[in-house]
């Protein structure tokens, strides 16, 4: 029997995290898809705005700034908590740090959602009032449902930490959940500028 050379790969690691693992790329794919969706929402907002004679429509006040701005701060803060949780586990193998970070981010996520509900229970228009209402409500509900889903997912990650599931080597789940959280936070910023600042700067 003739023989050929072999490339022995047994020394390569079996558990990797971050971009070396397929799951991370899968999540990145999901994020890109969602970026396109949010992009389409923002494009729709500006399309409708430039078509409309008044924006917001005559009779609607400009969106209030204080609450959403504070809330944006809350959301950004949650990203730091997630970052802390991620580095705790993946760099130091620190499960306690992971739990603290995750718990804090969960809390901030919930605060964000509660403040959103408070904010939009005060506006006087609905999605069926006019196209302005349609796009603003769609953006808010769509983004908030993302915050809700990432909060729930983080809850699962946190629950798993109780089972001793995470370690320095086995941190891919935390990392992947983390990049999704950062995405949900980052994508809020263009939405925030679009919804709250655009009508003021270019009314």
């Amino acid at each position: 029997m003739s023989r050929r050379l072999a490339l022995d790969v047994s020394e390569y690691p079996a558990l990797v995290s971050g971009p070396r693992g397929g799951l991370w790329w899968g999540m990145l794919g999901l994020i890109v898809i969602e970026v396109v969706v949010f992009g389409a929402l923002i494009a729709t907002y500006y399309y409708l705005k430039f078509l409309a004679p008044h924006w917001p429509p005559a009779g609607e006040p400009l969106p209030k700034l204080l609450l959403p701005t504070v809330n944006t701060g809350v959301l950004i803060g949650s990203s730091f908590a997630v970052y802390y949780a991620d580095t705790s586990i993946s760099e130091r193998g620190d499960v306690r740090g992971l739990r603290i970070g995750m718990g804090l981010s969960l809390l901030l996520g919930v605060v964000f959602l509660v403040l959103k509900v408070v904010e939009y229970s005060q506006v006087e228009y609905f999605w069926d009032s006019h196209a302005y209402g349609s796009i603003v409500w769609t953006m808010i509900v769509f983004h908030s449902s993302h915050v809700l889903s990432v909060v729930l997912k983080t809850g699962v990650v946190l629950a798993l930490s109780g089972h001793g599931h995470w370690s320095r080597e086995r941190a891919q789940g935390v990392k992947v959940n983390g990049i999704y959280w950062h995405f949900v936070v980052l994508i809020w910023l263009p939405l925030y500028i679009t919804i709250y600042w655009t009508p003021r700067i270019h009314g």
């Binding site: 023989r3 050379l5 490339l7 794919g29 196209a131 089972h163």
Partner: protein, 659 residues
Amino acid sequence: MATLEPAVTPDARAGDPELLERTWGSPPGLLGWLMEVNHRRIGRRYIATGFALFLLAGLEALAIRMQLAVPENDLLGPEVYRQFFTMHGATMMFLFAVPIMLGIGIYLVPLQIGARDMALPRMNALGYWVYLIGAVTLYTAFLLGVAPNSGWFNYPPLSRREHELTIGIDVWISVVTILEVAALIGAVGLIVTIFKQRAPGMSLNRMPIFVWSILVMSFMIVFAMPTLMTTSIFLGLDRRVGTHFFNPGGEGDPLLWQHMFWYFGHPEVYIMFLPGLGMVSMVIATMTRRPVYGYTPVVLSLVATGVLSFGLWVHHMYATGLPRLGTSLFTAASMLVTLPTAVQFFCWVATLWGGRPRFTTALHYALGFLVIFLIGGITGVQLGAVPFDLQVHDTFFVVAHFHYVLLGGVVFPLFAGIYFWWPKVTGRLLSERLGKLGFWLMFAGVHLAFWPQHHLGFMGMPRRVYTYLPEMGWGPLNLLSTVGAFTLAAGVAVFLVNAAVSLRRGEPAGDDPWGGETLEWSTPSPPPVYNYRWQPTVKSRTPLWDPDWGTQPVVTGLREDQREMLSTTLLDARPDNREILPGPTLVPLVTALATAVPIVGVLFGLHWVPIGAALFFVAITAWNWPGAMPHRTEEPGGREHRLAQREREREEAEEEAGS
């Protein structure tokens, strides 16, 4: 190709077919069928389902052609006709072309890059189930007589509730959304697989052109399809909760739909035919026994086509009265996009000039593609010009144009690919005689059916009319077109006979009936469930044509009692880590059903949306819950474990020798 055993076997059991079979195989029976995650089985399901839907949409086309064969015909009434042309378009676009190309990619890509499976096998299975649910939903509605009826493009305000109450429009929205989800899942899976699972040595610039075409297609799906989902959800909101996105009375705008639809819809056309171009490249290379001339220009052309296709959407909207300056820019862009294709055409011509062509059926279809697609491309350039488009837009000229493009760019390459890879997939050859008969029938059918339609367009026949007056003078050409459609159908029927005969008593194909150059031809036909006994490595674009292919190193050192597969780096494909893949599981099917609950359930009431979302969350949690994934029985860096095991085995062997 005689299999060479690796010289170094670090693991005593490396390359053990029985063990590999056990590790990578699927459980038997119906349950095993539902739990399937193997990429080739799933790819085959995609292809089979897509082809069945191709036949259904073909039958719908025949019904349409029969209705139009003579003036004032009453075979299909106006209401039924609406449903038929909508179903034909939607099926061909959403249920046939994109899924079957995804399916071929899912089947072939891992083989061509030397992998054992896709990177995310459960996602892959999920994509198929979601697709199947979409197809079943649409055809259930069709059978119940409430198919979508306002075209595959579904323009509002016609599709808004005040004009069309029918639930068919809601079915369209749900089905399109669910099919986009499926396509996106498939595309992400393919991208990750192509990025991470290539054989060592297969740097990006050594990938087979077909893999490149699938990569570009997948990226286009990712960037195009979310827009359609967004806009169809807008339409659903307009219909269900009274938003005003497309309602001019509420400061919305019907044209918003057209922008968003065609921002997706134009790339969609290229999504459908780029894999076709890739398949043609493979067929021409193998059948002329020469690498495709100009690998780099061909690949750059694929990428350029993909990028440019996102800047063309307005050329579907010239007649909507947009500002003239803007439309002229889109004319220039529409013409620019033909250049990459022209480059590819002449790369193939150069390959044929310098090749040693074997005129197999596959090459026939590839050459047929060149001719048909060229005609479609030429009329496409004409349509890019605003003034001419104003005349023939939404007429049968356009119908002729895009059928030349899609039959040329999708169906003919698809048949070239089927004739080319059929032996690999089934292990049997197709009859070349029947193949060529089918080819000539289809080739003649295309021209008979669609050439006259150019003239009908000039004669003023608009699209989507269910009938016409005898005085219009459109009768004879329509009759001719109908005859052509049946000729085309006869060609497809000949293929079906050929396939059936081959499956029952086709000649065995052997590993490599065509003398191919890419990796898939180095493994048996059909390939074993683990694809390769040893994952191969490569050092050129045409590994099997390397003179020293026989001594090219293979990958060893992967565990074979678990689904372990080598991951490589993105650009250079250097070995990076040993990824473990999940085995057969019901989780994808359950998740697909959970995905379908809100999207299909919304047809029956809005309350299904939160219910479905909750179910989806449960399914995804189960998906990611430890235990759903097989756990490693050893901790990372298994070298020590292996060494210890090998030590044990040597001791055992010594003991045996001693005793």
